[in-house]
């Protein structure tokens, strides 16, 4: 459950909470990779200087730029606190959610680079085409499959069985994992971590009866065997899902056919 920051440890109390510390604005530089398909042949870098509170989110700084400096700066955003998965982007070289990355957790003295996630078609500035990503998700049959008559009440499931797949229920489909994967960059046909995570969520759900079918899909050429355990996905997941571990569990399930 740790956030994706790494340059400094997440701020702990130190006697005063962040809300109680004084808020001094500093000037930071965001070096954003811009691309407008209507006018540009190639993407290019553009620097923006913006006043920011160190405890502020990168997303806030970007919204400030859009509101005050350049309205054409284009990116997706919605909930702004790491729940909706809209604003996955590559900040200082790593995939993160702009709304879960605080200014103070990056090197504020240097320009902060912001670019689109890699491996999906770039549409404009930080917006990529999410359709292929969603297609991979759909391909693993991410829904409960059961047979027989529906029970009148709920299906029973012990807390232990529920816990078995808890980690992978957290996925918000932000694509930070899939687009951090070196295999996905070079081979877009690979299902990618997010799709496997969502298959895992059902394969290990004690109520589900579609595991065999899903495993068969992931046994394909573009399935789990393409995973090279680089752990980029685990590092990138803003929800703290142990993505690589989930993929390994699917591999082992395939090998031992023990689900």
């Amino acid at each position: 459950m740790t956030a994706v920051v790494e340059e400094t440890a997440p701020g702990k109390g130190h006697g005063a909470t962040a809300a109680e510390r004084d808020h001094t604005l500093i000037t930071i530089t965001l070096r954003i990779r811009r691309f407008n398909p209507e006018t540009d042949a190639e993407p290019y870098w553009q620097d923006f200087k913006v006043e920011a509170d160190p405890t502020e989110r990168i997303l806030t700084a970007m919204m400030k730029i859009k509101a005050e400096q350049d309205g054409s700066l284009t990116f997706r955003r919605s909930c702004a606190h790491g729940i909706c998965g809209s604003d996955a982007m590559r900040i200082n070289g790593r995939n993160r959610l702009a709304c879960k990355t605080l200014v103070k957790d990056l090197d504020m003295a240097k320009p902060i680079t912001v670019e689109a996630i890699k491996g999906l078609k770039l549409e404009k500035d930080l917006v990529v085409d999410m359709d292929p990503f969603m297609q991979a998700y759909k391909d693993v049959m991410p829904f409960l499959i059961t047979s027989g008559n529906e029970p009148t009440r709920e299906r029973l499931q012990s807390p232990e069985d529920r816990e078995r797949f808890d980690d992978t229920t957290k996925c918000i489909l932000c694509a930070a994992c899939t687009t951090s994967c070196p295999v996905f960059w070079s081979d877009g046909q690979y299902f990618g971590p997010a799709a496997i995570v969502n298959a895992h969520r059902f394969i290990f759900d004690s109520r589900d009866e579609g595991a065999e079918e899903r495993l068969e899909i992931l046994n394909e050429k573009e399935g789990v065997w393409r995973c090279r355990t680089t752990f980029n996905c685990t590092e990138a997941c803003p929800r703290g899902i142990e993505v690589t571990k989930a993929i390994q569990e699917v591999k082992r399930a395939l090998i031992f056919r023990r689900v």
């Binding site: 459950m1 909470t17 809300a19 109680e20 999410m130 759909k138 797949f165 759900d205």
Partner: protein
Amino acid sequence: MQTHKYDTVIVGAGGAGMRAALESSKRSRTAVLTKLYPTRSHTGAAQGGMCAALANVEEDNWEWHTFDTVKGGDYLTDQDAAEIMCKEAIDAVLDLEKMGLPFSRTPEGRIDQRRFGGHTRDHGKAAVRRSCYAADRTGHMILQTLFQNCVKQNVEFYNEFYVLDLLLAEDEAGNKTTSGVVAYELATGEIHVFQAKSVIFATGGFGKVFKTTSNAHTLTGDGMGIAWRRGLPLEDMEFYQFHPTGLAGLGILLTEGARGEGGILRNADGERFMERYAPTIKDLAPRDIVARSMVLEVLEGRGAGPNKDYVYLDLTHLPAEQIEEKLPDITEFARTYLGVEPTTELVPVYPTAHYAMGGIPTNVEAEVLSDNTTVVPGLYAAGEVACVSVHGSNRLGTNSLLDINVFGRRAGIAAAEYATSHDFVELPEAPEATVVEMIERLRDSAGTERVGAIRAEMQETMDANAGVYRTEETLKQALSDIKGLQKRYLDVSIQDKGKRYNTDLLEAIELGFLLDLAEVLVVGAQNRKESRGGHAREDFQARDDENYMKHTMAYREVDAKGEHSIRLGYKPVVVTRYQPMERKY
């Protein structure tokens, strides 16, 4: 421009929209139009749970739930609607479980339940465990589960299609019938006309009229704004819920489930002040009461922090494992955004704008009303955009997730049935004209006003003058500010003149809706000279059933010169079995 033809068109793909789609797509050819990818919808941010009298862990029944809902809504709740919701709640939860939702479980393997604000046993005797939950990610699980089932059913989505207009055919007598919607495709800038027999609005709320809000940036009241501009009324817009526990200064939501698990609110002196305001259920009083109490603590100088402008949520007495297991996400929010460790430190919290009780008036079949009783054939609304009104003047925690599931489902069924038994209504001539004009005006404007500046000023004035407590004076200020901003909005210009992913244009349009709705909210609040639920007047602190035990209906009037004004009317409250009483907890 492109034209599409569907039986049913659903606008919005949050909980209500997708729940409706699961029903309507089985019965009629359905398209779901959403300005976001479905899983980005704000249903996913809901945390604490979804109440239903399953009685899995202790005695409970849906009548108690109904009573709590009516009382929680300060008796402005339409009781027929509340009965339906609370009765159907049980199946709504079980349906979700069968769809695969991973609820937290009891040791016996049943769906676990926990306490939540305002939910009591036997008409207010004590707090009851009624909220079915999945850690503090219930909304996330609901949204994912509904989306998963939409994938399973092959529901047709049009992602990043921003609906900007509702097409209504009108006969000589002025009766309106639905004929479709007009949408703007973000990826290409192209206009799409969707001809449909029935249309469901499930576009969510408009929390972005406020600065400090738990709402997503996308919650700009588009659905309400579109209906409003098409001459449909809006109901009870002055009732806006402020959630007590937003992260101070940020507004990010910390679930009421935190108090359901035993969390306590404390002022700067460490006092558990809710004991003074709600002696029986204390911190689990309904949100309006807790939010008002918190504001009073701060106003009376007992606020914490350097500016004495917030209070604390105390979880430190709870076992760390319980916090990690039951409240993992909010714990992380506190760590990430405030640098506070909730297991050992107090978390600074303050009320945050959260939920619109009001919206497009509908009956219990989710049919949209054009006045107190007249149905607009083919038009439906469900979820936060609608006002059924199951929440009255104050929604109980968890009842929104219930609302979207119960009335989303009802809307889906009703709309599909309407579509299968009716023919297409002819589209008006040049159906896209209004939208094209609106977009071109913004794109070609030579004005000098900036969207960001106007939006910021609107949010400032709404926070300052139309927040938890309001007075005649502050509301007057808010109204004059909004009027001024509306004038400036006419001069707004955007920098992005392109067609692809023009979010600059999108934000400008959204601001227009927000300004409209802010005005309706303030005018309604000004007119209601009492305090009830989510509408608290410092200058009229008592509830006044004599004069205001009725819903506000706001109508947009346009005079001969094209100037618009707001006319207010009223609608009686449906009372079935619970007579208004003084509200004590």
